[in-house]
């Protein structure tokens, strides 16, 4: 019997080893949300970012001066202001008497560079060379002068991990700016999609999509993209809205972290609720 088992093992050892290794990999997959695993991953990517930071500086040979950096920053700030003005104009048209109800916040933009890209249509992540020492924290939005790039999902002392629009775990609350229709935006592996929007809603090709006031993570009015298509599902009741992002996530190199997590207004409301 023992001899038979030994013979069988020798014959199938490659397959047994393969099965064990694949099983370990599959067991690890659901553990990604585990705090300890997250800590290990943070430590690993931060350590490795030191190497990639040096390697990516090779690409800097042809890159910008400080002046260009400054211009990019001004561009990004203007983009955010322009978008806010556009939104005010639409609001003004509809709700003239309610002007000024909303708190004005000036976002601080921290310029930084992408040092590593996990170049995948499914698991798009960036590592940027800004971290807690630069007051960059988890949940801060990352933008360029064109619009939203992603969200900081992990921050170490000097580096941060950014989940980009090209990540199937990416979810944000968005608004069709013209008609004020809210929905959840996610990456389906090929397109940015606003899911399950009633077919009868007023959405046209070319409508601008921005982050929603309903978002508990991102500040409102960050440009996301333009509506390119509306696809009805089989029943015809609901539609998926395909969005073309303003930012070409694949080529982006210089980005800004919006050093803003939540509105002061929301914070104060929450505090008031706690007092009661």
């Amino acid at each position: 019997m023992e001899l038979f088992l030994r013979k069988l093992f020798n014959k199938l050892k490659e397959y047994i080893v393969l099965a064990i290794l694949l099983l370990i990999s599959l067991i690890l997959l659901p553990q990604n949300k585990n705090t300890e695993v997250k800590k290990i991953k943070s430590y690993a990517f931060a350590t490795f970012a030191l190497i990639t930071n040096a390697a990516s500086s090779i690409g800097d040979i042809f890159e910008s001066s400080d002046e260009l950096e400054e211009q990019r920053k001004i561009n990004a700030e203007l983009m955010l202001k322009l978008n806010r003005i556009r939104e005010y104009a639409l609001e003004n048209k509809k709700l003239k008497e309610l002007l000024g109800y909303k708190e004005e916040t000036d976002s601080k933009l921290f310029p930084t560079t992408v040092v590593a890209k996990s170049f995948s249509n499914i698991q798009g992540n960036y590592i940027i060379n800004a971290g807690k020492s630069d007051s960059v924290y988890k949940s801060m939005p990352v933008v360029t002068n064109d619009g939203l790039v992603g969200i900081v999902t992990d921050a170490t002392e000097n580096f941060s991990l950014v989940r980009t629009l090209h990540n199937t775990s990416f979810r944000i609350s968005g608004t069709i700016q013209r008609s004020n229709i809210d929905g959840i935006i996610f990456w389906d592996g090929q397109n940015l999609v606003m899911h399950n929007i009633p077919t009868t809603t007023d959405i046209d090709k070319g409508d601008r999509v921005v982050t929603s006031v309903l978002s508990s993570i991102l500040p409102p009015s960050i440009p996301v993209g333009l509506v390119v298509k509306k696809e009805s599902n089989i029943s015809g009741i609901l539609s998926n809205v395909i969005i073309k992002p303003f930012v070409d996530v694949l080529t982006v190199r210089n980005v800004f972290v919006m050093q803003e997590i939540k509105s002061k207004q929301i914070d104060s409301l929450e505090l008031n609720l706690l007092k009661d």
């Binding site: 050892k13 490659e14 080893v17 393969l18 290794l21 694949l22 370990i24 990999s25 599959l26 067991i27 690890l28 997959l29 553990q31 990604n32 695993v37 290990i40 991953k41 690993a44 990517f45 490795f48 190497i51 990639t52 390697a55 990516s56 090779i58 690409g59 040092v115 590593a116 890209k117 996990s118 170049f119 995948s120 249509n121 499914i122 698991q123 992540n125 590592i127 999902t153 992990d154 991990l161 199937t168 775990s169 996610f186 990456w187 389906d188 592996g189 090929q190 694949l250």
Partner: protein
């Protein structure tokens, strides 16, 4: 043995660094070659179907940790890639495979196809993906690009 392990680890770390920093610069429509899977294939062709998957597993672990990706996805994909490539291992005539460009490129293509497909498949558990899109965009196209790099390597080996 230890010396080989240290050497391989250094090569892997360097390759992952290149993969995450310089390789995105040569992307075509968002598709990039996978240098790491080429190295896993080369290792497996030299060391067989037992060591190959194990090496792929470790390389995948490093990649998942260093890239901030989903832990387990690259491990699974690269283990399979190592196993497939290890099937073509010939103890007595390993260099023959490297100089046979067609065979070597085919092995790279097959391994890269399996690797990129499973990496995408496991990473997309939260959304419903179009299977055809998954096979083409995240499977065949990256595998072709990777195979082209493999072909260049094979021609270089043959020249030497």
């Amino acid at each position: 043995m230890i010396q080989q392990l240290i050497k391989s680890s250094i090569i892997v770390v360097v390759l992952i660094a290149i993969q995450l920093t310089l390789i995105p610069l040569v992307s075509i429509k968002g598709i990039i070659p996978d240098l790491i899977v080429i190295y896993v294939v080369i290792f497996s062709l030299r060391n067989g179907q037992l060591k190959g998957p194990f090496f792929g597993f470790l390389v995948g672990l490093f990649f998942d940790l260093f890239s901030g990706g989903l832990l387990g996805s690259a491990m699974f994909a690269k283990t399979l890639a190592g196993f497939i490539a290890g099937y073509f291992y010939k103890e007595d005539d390993e260099e023959d495979i490297f100089s046979n460009s067609v065979l070597f490129t085919s092995i790279i293509f097959t391994s890269a196809l399996i690797d990129s497909f499973f990496y995408a498949f496991l990473g997309s558990a939260e959304v419903e993906l179009n299977l055809l899109g998954l096979i083409f965009t995240n499977g065949i196209f990256p595998a072709i690009y990777t195979a082209m790099i493999g072909l260049a390597y094979s021609l270089l080996v043959r020249k030497k």
